[in-house]
Symmetry: C2
Subunit: 378 residues, 2 copies
Amino acid sequence: MSAVSVIGRGTTTFGKKEDSLKSMLVEASRKAIIDAERPKIDAVFVGNFTAGTLANQEILGSILTNELGLGDVPSVKMEGACASGGLAFRHAYQLVKAGEYDTVLVAGGEKMTSQDTETVTNAINHAMDSGTNEAASGLTFPGFFGVLANRYMHEHGADKKHLAMVALKNRDYALANPIAHFRKETTLEDIMQARKITDPLGLFDCSPISDGAAAVVIQRGENGVQVLASGQASGIPVMQEVDDLLHIPATHQSAKRAYAAAGLGPEDIDVVEVHDCFSITEIIATEELGFFEKGCGWEAVEKGLTKHGGKVPVNTSGGLLSKGHPIGATGIAQIIQIVDQLNEKACNQVENAKIGLAQNLGGTGAYSVVHIFKKKGA
Amino acid sequence: MSAVSVIGRGTTTFGKKEDSLKSMLVEASRKAIIDAERPKIDAVFVGNFTAGTLANQEILGSILTNELGLGDVPSVKMEGACASGGLAFRHAYQLVKAGEYDTVLVAGGEKMTSQDTETVTNAINHAMDSGTNEAASGLTFPGFFGVLANRYMHEHGADKKHLAMVALKNRDYALANPIAHFRKETTLEDIMQARKITDPLGLFDCSPISDGAAAVVIQRGENGVQVLASGQASGIPVMQEVDDLLHIPATHQSAKRAYAAAGLGPEDIDVVEVHDCFSITEIIATEELGFFEKGCGWEAVEKGLTKHGGKVPVNTSGGLLSKGHPIGATGIAQIIQIVDQLNEKACNQVENAKIGLAQNLGGTGAYSVVHIFKKKGA
C-alpha cells in the first residue's frame, strides 16, 4: 500500500454555460494535468450522472481519453447519482494505492442547463428507485428534503431561520470563489423571503442546476496533499423504507469507515466540505460526520460554529448551494476545495488547516463517500 | 496481491422478457450468491449502459444492494457502453486482488425490449461521440460494422458466406444453451437469405436487442476458477479518426496486457468468448487476440478452426449473436461461460479446457477488456 497524493487540480467555472459536456471535461482535465506538471497519465476515471439522458452521451471515459490525446490507457465512467464524482475519485485512489496505476486523472462533469426544468427534474429522479411508486407519485428531491427539514424543525426546535443561516453562510463564502455559480451579496432577509420551492425550503435552500466540470490528478507518493482514507457506504434509496428520516446512515457509516482507516476522528478535522444539496442536508451531514450531536447541528449554525473561528468551517467553497452543483463535478470540486485549503491556496483560506474532509452524497442517501486529506509534510 | 476466484455465478434467461431490470439483476445475483454458498458480500459492482435513458433508472448499485438485503456495503455502477459488464468485473477483481474487499458481487443487466427499435438505436448511439457529426449524420452500429465487413471482404478476399458461417456456428452452439435468446435450428441458407440490415450484414449477422442479467461472486483465494489477469485499453470512439478500420487497437492492446500479466499467450488459451456484436466483429477479434494472423480470421472460420476440434472454440455460449446481448449483462455472461467451461459444467463443453479468455468490447472500439481464467487446481 503506497501513499497517494493529489498533484494537480482544475475546474471550469460553474453556472449556466454555453460549453458542451465534453469541452468542459477537457478544460478541467487540461488544467489539472498542467497543474500537475504534465505527468504520464496511466488511467482516466470519469464521474457523471445524467449525460445519457440529458446529453445523449455515454462512454465519457473513452471520449475524454481520446480528446486529451492520452493514448490507449484504461478509462471508465462511474455513476452513483450525485456521488458519481466522489466514487470515481475513490476507485482511482484505491487502485493507485494498490499499485495498479501510478498516476490517474479523475474528472467529473455535468451539462444540465440545456434542458428545461421538468426534463432535468425527471433525470435527477433517476436517483430514486423507479420500481417503487415514489417518483411516479410526484416525489422529487426538493420534496424529499423538504419533508426532512420540516421533521427536523419539529423534532429539534430549529426554525426556518437556521436553514437560511446555512444558505447565507454559503452565499457569503461563494463571494470569494471565482468559479462559483452565485457571487452576489445576499441578505438573510433575501433568503427568508425568497419564493418557496417545497415547504419549508425556499429558493436559496436548494442547490441550483449548474453546468461545470472538475478534475484532479492523483499519483503514488507524497508529492502533494495526501489522501489518508476513503470510506463508502450504501443506504436505502426508497423513502418509505427509511426508519428515521433525520438519520442518513450512509453518511454516518462512510465517515466512520474513513475515520477508522485514517486513525482520526471528527476532532482532528480542520476544514470540511459536505454535500449541501439543500440547507437541511448540510445540518444533518455535520451531525452524521460527528462534528455535532444529533439534533444539535442547527444550534451550531446559530452559534457560528461552522464558520471561520468556529469549531470547523463548513463549505468554504460556497458549497453546492452557492458554488453550484454540476452533479458529476461536485464530488471532485469538493475535494479540490479541501486540497486548495491544505495547499494554503483556497478562497476563504482557513489558517493552519492540516487535515480536511470531503463528503459526497448520492440520491436521498443511496450512497455516501468520504475522503480525508492531509497537508503535504504535515 | 492475492489470488482471486469466481466462486458463484447466476443468470436470467436472455431474450424478450416481462421482468424489470431490477428484478432481473436480483434474480441473477441471488442465483450467484446461492451458487457461492451465501458468503458475506463486501461490495457490489454493477455494469449497465442504457438504464438512465431506457428505464429512467440510475443508482443501480444502491438499488441492488438494498433489494438483496446486503446492508450498507459499498456499491457503484460502471459504464463503458457494451463493455460495462466486463469493466465492472475488472474493477471488482482489481480491488479484491488488492485486499480492499474479500468477496464482491458483480452484476450486469439491461432492459431493452420495452422500447421501440428507434429509441433503442438512439440509446445505443450514446456509445458514439455526440460532439461529432457521425450519429447525427445517421451512423449506427450496424452501419459502422457493415462498413468494416465490406472493407474486410475487399481487403482479404472473404465473402458473405464466411460471415454467415460465424453466425451459423453461434446459432448451433446456442441450441444447447438454456439461457440463449435464440434456440432454433438454423441453416446457412436461412442466414444467407435473411433480410439485409446494413450491407453486407443480414439479420443473423447482428446481435439482437435482448433483456437479461448475469452475476458472479468473486473472492480472494483459490476456491474456484481463478482470475489470472485483466487487461483493459481505450480506443478511438470516432470513426473518422480511425486509421485502419480493420484493426481494433483496444482489443489488441487489452489482450496484450492480459497476456503479459498472466505470462501466457494465445497458444495457451483452450476456450474463448469474444465480443461478436456482429459476425465480422468475431472474425476481427480472433485476429486481434492473436489466434489467427491479421486478415486470416475468415479462413479459420472456413476451416472450422473456431469450433470444437479446431484451434480454439469461440463463443461456445452462442455468443452475443445467439445467446443474446443484454448489454450490461454481456461481459459477465461471457465470463460465466468461461467459468462453466473450466468447471466442466458448460453447454458445449470443451474437453480438457484449463485456460479460458473472455473479451468484451465497448462502442465501435472505445473500450476493450480481456480477462484470463484458470481451472481450479490446474
